[in-house]
Subunit: 223 residues, 2 copies
Amino acid sequence: MRDEPATQLARRLGYSFDDPALLARALTHRSAASEHCERLEFLGDAVLGLVIAEQLHQRFPDIDEGALSRMRAALVCRDSLLKVARRWKLAEQASVGGGERTADGRLRSPSIVANMVEAVIGAVFTDGGWGAARAVVLAAWDEALADIADGDGRDAKTRLQEWTQAHGWGLPEYVIRDAGVGISPRFLAECHIQGVLQGRGTGARKKDAEQGAAGEALRAVKG
Amino acid sequence: MRDEPATQLARRLGYSFDDPALLARALTHRSAASEHCERLEFLGDAVLGLVIAEQLHQRFPDIDEGALSRMRAALVCRDSLLKVARRWKLAEQASVGGGERTADGRLRSPSIVANMVEAVIGAVFTDGGWGAARAVVLAAWDEALADIADGDGRDAKTRLQEWTQAHGWGLPEYVIRDAGVGISPRFLAECHIQGVLQGRGTGARKKDAEQGAAGEALRAVKG
């Protein structure tokens, strides 16, 4: 049974293309063909921007737009894109012109795959729409979103705990369910405050799921 | 029977809020209250960016990402936002602090309502999701999208005609259906090439519907 690179990539993305030509184009650098990734990159950049804006708006209900903008810039920077490119193993699959790889097959410029992350997101959006693209971004950025903190260095769990204690509501409690190795998303977290379910989150790590649940709970108790 | 300002605005938007507090917040300037529009503006800016990116990507299948970026910048500039603000009559409904209006009730700074357009889009997205926000943006930007041309000054109809003639396919033909005054979108256009339906578009003006249909047809014949 063959397991082609595109199939493996689909598994890592958590998305299977109706039109595989879109994915192929997203992985084609301008040095390799005239039908290359850059238009999809333009689209994917906007998709990524909205998914991250939505998440930050939801998870940090009490910080101002200036801080939201700075947090978003940190989440969509070149380093973040390179992390996702490694997770998706794009360097192996990128179609580039001969001059773009060294003798041992490595890409000369890492920017190529950073940009291809956006192109892949644009391809998913074109192929499967907003819901599909949003799910792919959330899965790829779950750790980065869980680790992001506001300008004061406080993440969603910390902020929620400060809020509940300030209001005499004690500490939030988290209940974790583990769907098992290989299932995506693996963890589901529920956040309870004074015994009442206030938020849910999912993630590849317990921490990611808890941060998501804390963000939702913070919005619920403040709203 | 009362017809409140918020109801009138809902009609102009083509969207009715489940949570009217979101719309109220979108219309509240920071000079008027601590719960103001700026976080929704952050979100709406990203929604608007994606809707316009998607439209340009679809309607101009053959131009590069640099030109797409320039066209998007032209479509989301302050002047475009002010046109939509006038269409939605936001200046009348904006909640601003006393110092922000002149003695005769006009806003001192037009930027306030330009920014509120983005906040209203963010509010629709929060209330009704991607599909609702996309529909509101498309209705508000239909003329601007129909009027936009590529770097060479050619709109979608012109580009399609050039393409079909260059390929010996003759002229595209447009069939218009008029749903009637007061129905939104009023016009539906079909674009036929050599008798085959290749694209559909809708709009408040015939021209808008035809440009949309031409863009879809251009994508179809080139794809």
